[in-house]
Amino acid sequence: MTGINEILHLLVTANLWQAALAAAVLLLLPALGGVISERSGVVNIAMEGMMLTGAFFAVVADLAWHNPWLATLVAMVAGGLMALIHAVVAIRFRADQIVSGIAINIFAAGLTLFLVNRIYGIQDVGHISPAEALPIFDVPGLDQIPFIGQVFFKQNVIVYVALALLVLVHIVLFRTRLGLRIRAVGEHPQAADTAGINVYAIRYGAVVTSGVLSGLAGAMLAIGVSNTFVPNMTDGRGYIALAAMIFGKWTPAGAFVACLIFGLGEAIYANNSIIHISAYLLSMLPYILTLIVLAGIVGRSSPPAADGIPYVPGSE
């Protein structure tokens, strides 16, 4: 019983929610990428690899140029390039998108490990100095609001960026012409093609965007949170983001809610020193929730109709 009481006590502390939101954002960015990619009809399970690639190159660039903003940009480009490989394989060569995604994830893990050894030797990569990290930004005035201030307005800059992106992606997908076309391509590419929409261009754009967003999440993780690179430091976040996307029924808002739940779980087990539930047990939470969702217990969650199906022009 003490475990439950401790969690309840923990749930009313602002620190926990602050950590939960930060953790959620690391999931939200790749999840948004996944939503965009899959809404256009390309299954993307490679956010893990794209994020890892982003994390690595963020550290490399930051150590080289001592500029976190430039490093973040490099991370986004690196994530985007990784996504481009997936796009070419999945769209141009019509390969199985799951297999391609797995390959990207394995490739990213191997590539970063190889490059760490090549560039820095087998020793530690080395830490970037706090001055060169992506900063925490306290929003003047708003950060003084009790509780809310600490949770929402004393966060890493990328958190604000991610929340803005959340709103932006929602608007683009559901309010704009571009969004209508992305969804059309993901639902029925033949229909989109016959309406004069360039199916390939939309899909390439969507997949690369997912890589850019994942790369941004990698940058935040590496030079905003950890200030170093450790092999496989993304630690399954790309996969949890995938789960969040499904849990959120392929919508940005739904994915965000899922990310918050998962982020909260992560924050709780990060505070495990004061509560007595196995960290391993808590870390299973996202996957269990995902299985529950996939089994259709919490409402049906169905992907875009053409998700994962390569488009062959002229086919029925």
């Binding site: 309010r175 309406a195 929409i197």
Partner: protein, 512 residues
């Protein structure tokens, strides 16, 4: 013929298109006069759809040229076709079920405000305008998936008109429609021609072609084999051209001599894949030596009905009796053993294992019988081969060998494998679901003859078909299914109008 003065809306000259293994279009010349309804007919695989895909830019011809309104046109994609005023209503609708009517119609030419915001209000106005202009009423805010097929097709036509099409290509437009909806469509087409549109009507239903078109182009095996003026031709002449030999259009059959009732369905209920009730109390009796047709618009429970009877779907209530034995809860294997044969509607998915050889497909479902297996364990290959050779000959299955994978056969020959397998088991009851769907005229003729022969030998045949003509020409009695209920059982010669009305839920004085 010189361009510009000829009054041709479309001139396609020497169009050739080679697909791997098939010459889909072989120097095809095709011309359509402005303001006419021009029918393009031919069997499946004759090259009609390829030709139209070339015209619409979805497929690129290897050689040949296209003139639109007398001027040479390069059509590299759908976008070019749209610019040239060509619109296509596809056989499989190019509609997005989860989008609204408005979004579907606007797609590709969406009204926007500000940077890129989709403008719902203007979309509504545009559709209202088109409705006024052409008399095609539609609710722009309805979700496409919620509309009946006839209205979905109307949305397709409106979509094409919204893009400013003057030349409309309709690919097998009546395939999914009820007779009433087809009539309405023809009215719409005649109206469109009056406003100056040109229409290309692709079909293999000759009666409709004769009813609606001005001129006809006939294709066979990638070539144009005839140009006809509709008022000077006949169904028989077109059919002969299409097939390349004389064909029997009417099924030749003697009156049935029905025996005793052998198969009884009582108050049967079942759910669809989505878990909603699909059969709401279906009852009928089937006699030996008769064909009972099930007529209905697709999606009214006929698929579920045959699946329950074949043992591949569970009934939620009611009973099925085969010679007074309750077989309701039998699975596919026991149903088969009891003497119920099944020609499923999904030939490629359910009826065959496409990667298996013709021979293996011919024993599917009977692989355990002593004839083909020793103690249900080891296949008797010699017996299987002999059996396959016999059936291939008897049912005229055109295949290079009995070892050829079923995948490599034409649709008609694939279907003949299933028909042969099921009929050769000497069933008491034969369930035939869409037995001639997507099959060429020659094979249709053959399958029809075999169904009647099966009847004459005393088999009880249940025929489910979306083609009302097929139902009417084969059935001794016709049961009309509507929303999961048999609304009426009619004699085999019931008029088409009455059946059409019943199929759409009309014409019955609420007899419960």
């Amino acid at each position: 013929m010189t361009a510009a003065t000829t009054g041709y809306a479309v001139e396609m000259k020497g169009i050739t298109k080679q697909f791997p293994g098939v010459l889909a279009n072989d120097h095809v010349d095709f011309t359509v006069r402005a303001g006419e309804i021009h029918a393009l007919v031919g069997e499946n695989g004759a090259g009609k759809t390829t030709l139209m895909n070339v015209l619409y830019g979805l497929v690129h011809a290897d050689s040949g040229e296209i003139l639109i309104d007398g001027k040479p046109a390069h059509i590299g994609g759908a976008r070019d076709a749209i610019t040239h005023g060509i619109g296509m209503v596809h056989q499989h609708f190019m509609l997005i079920p989860v989008f609204t009517v408005g979004e579907n119609v606007m797609l590709g030419r969406e009204p926007v405000t500000g940077p890129d915001f989709y403008n719902h209000a203007r979309a509504r106005d545009e559709i209202a305008k088109l409705t006024r202009e052409y008399g095609l009423a539609l609710d722009p805010d309805a979700r496409m998936a919620d509309l009946p097929v006839g209205l979905q097709q109307r949305a397709e036509i409106v979509k094409v008109l919204y893009r400013g099409a003057n030349i409309l290509i309709l690919d097998e437009p009546t395939g999914v429609l009820t007779p009433q909806e087809s009539k309405e469509l023809f009215g719409v087409l005649r109206g469109l021609v009056k406003t100056g549109k040109t229409i290309i009507f692709i079909s293999h239903k000759l009666r409709e072609v004769l009813e609606i078109s001005d001129r006809i182009t006939v294709m066979r095996r990638g070539k144009v084999v005839g140009h006809l003026v509709t008022k000077d031709t006949s169904e028989q002449e077109i059919a002969t051209m299409m097939v390349g030999r004389e064909v029997l259009l009417r099924v030749d059959k003697k009156p049935a001599r029905p025996g005793p009732v052998t198969f009884k369905v009582e108050n049967l209920t079942a759910s669809s894949d989505r878990g909603v009730p699909a059969l709401k109390g279906v009852s009928f009796e089937l006699r030996q030596g008769e064909i009972l047709g099930i007529a209905g618009v697709e999606g009214n429970g006929q698929s579920e009905l045959v699946e329950v009877l074949a043992g591949t779907r569970r009934a939620t209530g009611g009973r099925v009796l085969l010679a007074d034995k309750d077989v309701t809860s039998f699975d596919a294997r026991t149903e088969r053993d009891a003497g119920i044969a099944f020609i499923p509607e999904d030939r490629r998915g359910t009826g065959l294992v496409l990667n298996y050889s013709v021979a293996d497909n011919l024993i599917l479902g009977r692989q355990r019988t002593p004839k083909f297996a020793w103690r249900e364990l080891v296949l008797r290959l010699l017996a299987i081969r002999e059996w396959a050779r016999r059936l291939v000959k008897e049912f005229d299955i055109r295949t290079p060998s009995i070892e050829t994978a079923a995948r490599n056969l034409s649709g008609g020959n694939q279907q003949k494998i299933i028909v042969a397998r099921e009929m050769a088991s000497r069933p008491k009851v034969l369930l035939a679901a869409q037995p001639t769907r997507g099959v060429d005229i020659g094979a249709i003729e053959f399958i029809h003859r075999r169904l009647v022969a099966e009847r004459d030998e005393g088999t009880a045949v249940l025929l489910v078909s979306a083609e009302l003509d097929e139902i009417r020409s084969l059935s001794d009695r016709i049961a009309v299914i509507y929303e999961g209920k048999i609304v009426s059982i009619e004699p085999g010669d019931a008029p088409e109008e009455r059946l059409g009305l019943l199929m759409t839920g009309g014409g019955v004085a609420r007899a419960s």
